[in-house]
């Protein structure tokens, strides 16, 4: 469990990126921070591994304040997928993935073996192991980023718009893969995105943020869609338009659901299962 208590971050130039932010991130679930550009998502994420120090307030992991932990050790214990990859261009894929293991003193061969196994886990062909990051596609690089974050088997995984820079098809592939991974691994994931659809797809808990990391609403995707807290949330999740503004239409073969653009999206069936 990760807990933010009244956390504030003012950058040296006076930007109030985060103002009095509190949140509980339950263990073994995915919490998605979603908000428009500049709302403070990256800042929040980087405070968890002390890449950014809060101006005030505390952050606890399993009840222990991280301010007392050594930043280097803390970072090695937390997986982090950076917004832009951040892979080492002069290291081969397998060595990038093995970075934390090597830093922690795992012998070279063993680290390599483990790294290769993690490549399997994230769905990367082992034949790519000896390439350099620049020889991979954007989607493959992102998978390497995820593999690197997972390699040392951390309990916590921070993901900062990991699929922001890839095309929609690869993106949806990576999202599906992430869901599959999480079913298998049960990490405590904090995932940042500005894509509300991605947030609803991946999040057990979704936190909608406005400027200054003000919490507009926290809840499960269903709770938020069913009951937007205010107009800001309603417009952010597109409740009044497009794919989420569905209405029913009677046809000769039963009731169907039609979205805001007039496209039929599905059929209304009785006794459908799924979370309420």
């Amino acid at each position: 469990m990760i807990e933010f208590r009244s956390v504030t971050k003012t950058y040296p130039d006076g930007t109030d990126a985060v103002a009095d932010f509190s949140l509980v991130v339950p263990a073994h679930t995915t919490t998605v921070l979603v908000g428009s550009s500049g709302s403070g998502k990256t800042t929040l994420l980087r405070m968890i591994n002390r890449m950014v120090e809060p101006t005030s307030g505390t952050i606890e992991i399993d009840g222990e304040s991280i301010a007392d932990r050594d930043p280097v050790r803390l970072r090695r214990s937390i997986g982090y997928v950076l917004q832009n990859g951040g892979l080492l261009p002069h290291h081969r894929v397998v060595d990038n993935v093995a970075t934390v293991l090597r830093l922690e003193g795992t012998p070279k061969n063993e680290a390599r073996q483990q790294a290769l196994e993690v490549l399997d886990v994230v769905g990367l062909d082992r034949r790519l192991a000896d390439r350099y990051p620049s020889q991979l596609s954007g989607g493959q690089q992102q998978r390497v980023g995820v593999a690197r974050a997972l390699a040392a088997d951390p309990n916590i995984l921070l993901m900062d718009e990991p699929f922001g820079a890839v095309d929609p098809i690869v993106r949806s592939e990576l999202q599906t893969e992430t869901l599959r991974l999480q079913q298998q691994l049960h990490k405590t994931i904090v995932f940042v995105t500005h894509d509300i659809d991605e947030a609803f797809l991946l999040g057990d808990q979704v936190v909608i943020l406005s400027t200054g990391a003000q919490v507009a609403q926290i809840g499960s995707p269903s709770e938020i869609i069913e009951n937007p807290a205010d107009d800001f949330v309603a417009s952010f999740i597109g409740a009044e338009r497009g794919a989420r503004a569905l209405h029913t239409k009677e046809t000769g073969h039963g009731t169907v659901l039609v979205d805001g653009t007039g496209r039929t999206q599905g059929r209304l069936v009785e006794g459908g299962q799924g979370a309420a």
Partner: protein, 228 residues
């Protein structure tokens, strides 16, 4: 053209090979001065430049130093130091002058190499838990190496040229033939020695050019090639 031929003839003459100062010895001294000075300068400027590049501290001073040093007349510096050190310490004085001349380009190469590393890569390295020392040693230094070699290259070329001037203060190096040639009005000898210096400089430059390419990390070079 005739002088050119005479100059070439001088280079291979028995006079140049085994006179009061054999050519091979002059070349050896010339190179020794160059390498020793560049090595000493590197021992000082490389670590300093890396620290400046890594921490960003002292950057202003480093930039100012590299800029100002370009304006210092090298011959003036050599003469000044000989006067300061005293004529009995010509070797020390000249070497010190060469070291001082070599420091700025090496310093600039070292810190700009580290600075030029993509900040996102450095950020990634810190984020996965590298200590500042590991970031410097495993990321910033290897990725900044090409620019550092570039700095060593300009320092070496500058020193090779300047060591010639040392012929005025001591009777060593290839400069000796030029100074002596002027005195005895032997233009073939002057041009011959000048040619040897040019060849030396070109060879050194070539060597560093190759080295500069060789130290580009493979993954970085691969970016410009089609992947297999």
């Amino acid at each position: 053209m005739e002088l050119f031929a005479e100059a070439l003839a001088w280079i291979f003459s028995s006079d140049a090979q085994s006179g009061s100062l054999p050519l091979s010895e002059a070349i050896a001294t010339h190179l020794a001065f160059t390498f020793v000075s560049v090595l000493i300068a590197a021992a000082i400027a490389v670590p300093a430049g890396w620290v400046v590049g890594h921490t960003g501290r002292g950057r202003e001073a480093a930039v100012a130093l590299s800029g100002a040093a370009r304006a210092v007349p090298s011959f003036g510096l050599v003469l000044l130091l000989v006067l300061v050190f005293g004529v009995t310490h010509k070797v020390g004085a000249s070497t010190t002058a060469f070291v001082l001349l070599a420091i700025p380009p090496i310093l600039a190469g070292a810190y700009s190499g580290v600075e030029a590393v993509d900040r996102r890569v450095v950020d990634g390295a810190r984020a996965v838990g590298m200590t500042p020392r590991q970031v410097l040693g495993r990321v910033e230094i290897p990725l900044g190496l090409p620019l550092l070699i570039g700095g060593l290259r300009s320092a070496t070329l500058q020193v090779v040229a300047t060591v010639t001037l040392a012929g005025y203060v001591g009777s060593w190096g290839l400069g000796f033939y030029i100074v002596q040639g002027i005195q005895i009005r032997d233009f073939a000898q002057i041009l011959g020695a000048a040619l040897v210096i040019v060849v030396l400089a070109v060879l050194l430059d070539l060597l560093f050019a190759l080295l500069e390419r060789a130290v580009v990390p493979r993954g970085v070079r691969a970016r410009h090639e089609t992947s297999s």
